[in-house]
């Protein structure tokens, strides 16, 4: 599963990175996790409010820290 976290400067983005990594380890899902900070790339996904989450090329979340239950659903989905 290819997961990208979109975000610029706030610590929020790192929080999301950690959430996803921890949850994936818990569930035993192999993911390739990447942080995208390039503005052109972030906006290319149609996201203006960070952090955003992209899974396999599809934006699933934008504008805040997702809930743990959401992260779990993405990883299981």
């Amino acid at each position: 599963m290819d997961i990208k976290v979109l975000g610029g400067c706030c610590g929020n983005c790192d929080t999301v990175m950690k959430m996803v990594a921890d949850k994936a380890a818990d569930l035993g899902v192999t993911v390739s996790l990447e942080k995208v900070t390039d503005m052109g790339a972030i906006l290319g996904y149609g996201v203006m409010s960070t952090p955003g989450v992209v899974i396999d090329g599809k934006v699933v979340h934008a504008g805040g820290i997702p809930k743990t239950a959401q992260v779990e659903a993405w990883l299981k989905g």
Binding site: C10, M39, L43, G44, G46, T50, V60, I65
Partner: protein, 319 residues
């Protein structure tokens, strides 16, 4: 809100047994009362608004403002700027996204100016701490400053001073996931908002209350009045200058403003300080430097500083 005064009195004068009306006990009483009051109000307000917020995501605002004429987009930009909260980290993607949607530079700037200055949290807190009159003055002048700042930048035609790469970015079309639905979802979203916003603001508030308490207890009113009172014609531009390197958000500034007004400083001078601290700050300037060339950044700062100064003088003359 008397319960917080009562509690602070009880704690400082009763439990700790400090003598009233000394600098230390005065400052401590102010600190305890304001920490209680502001955090209580903040949690309540953020929860209630989080519950009712109809997801004013920037992506949606962008759609609303794109392709409209200026008669609509200028007032709409300042209005939306006032009701949409976003952290200063988002100013860069927001700025690029707006321009990419064909929203004029001046309108984008108007949005960026108003957004940090006015937000629903600050408004509720201002009403309950400083009263309806000061709040109305603050909100109306904040909107006017945003509008005027945006219009001036629009008139000057400064698009060539936006970094070139900004114009090359193409924004993707995405259907964003829907916001919260149903009671349970909304409640947990509201709680999440409380956690996130209080987590982001608590330090600014503690520092603000600390500064306010220090002013309240240790700075003599006469001294403050001598430097920043009505007799000093340069008090307003001075406050604006002092405010630029300082950074806090509107919520954190409330206790400082409270203490300064209680010392008898003129409303305009205090207003100028608050607006300058909140809207003109080094972190915001550094952030905007990523998308603006120096000349435009200087114009942005100058336009804001001048309009805030005018507001300050105006209110000192009126009240």
């Amino acid at each position: 809100m008397e319960v917080f005064t009562w509690f602070a009195d009880w704690l400082v004068y009763g439990l700790l047994g400090l003598a009233p009306a000394t600098p230390l006990s005065g400052a401590l009483q102010f600190f305890v009362e304001d920490v209680g009051k502001i955090f209580f109000l903040l949690i309540v307000v953020v929860f209630v608004i989080g519950f009712f917020r109809s997801m004013l995501a920037p992506e949606r605002v962008r759609k609303m403002l794109g392709g409209r004429n200026r008669w609509f987009s200028f007032p709409a930009a300042v209005g939306l700027g006032a009701v949409t909260p976003f952290c200063s980290c988002s100013s860069v993607p927001l700025f690029i996204g707006f321009l990419e949607a064909g929203i004029p530079l001046g309108v984008t700037m108007a949005f960026l100016i108003t957004s940090p200055m006015i937000n629903e949290i600050a408004v509720f807190l201002l009403i309950s701490t400083l009263g309806l009159e000061f709040t109305l003055i603050y909100v109306v002048t904040g909107l006017v400053v945003g509008l005027v700042g945006g219009l001036v930048i629009d008139r000057l035609r400064l698009e060539h001073w936006v970094e070139d790469y900004v114009w090359k970015i193409r924004m993707g079309e995405t259907v964003l996931p829907e916001g919260p639905h149903g009671l349970r979802d909304r409640l947990s979203y509201a709680l999440e908002q409380v956690r996130e916003i209080v987590g982001r603001l608590w330090l600014y508030i503690l520092i603000g209350v600390g500064v306010g308490a220090g002013l309240h207890g240790f700075v003599p009113a006469e001294q403050l009045m001598r430097y920043a009172g009505p007799d000093n014609p340069f008090a307003v531009p001075m406050s604006v200058l002092i405010g630029i390197p300082l950074y806090s958000n509107a919520t954190g500034m409330i206790p400082v403003v409270e203490a300064l007004l209680a010392k008898g400083l003129p409303v305009g001078t205090v207003l100028a300080l608050m607006m300058s601290v909140v809207a003109l700050s080094l972190p915001e300037i550094m952030m905007l430097k990523k998308v603006l060339k120096w000349p435009l950044l200087v114009v942005f700062i100058a336009v804001l500083a001048v309009s805030i100064t005018i507001v300050g003088y105006l209110f000192n003359a009126l009240f």
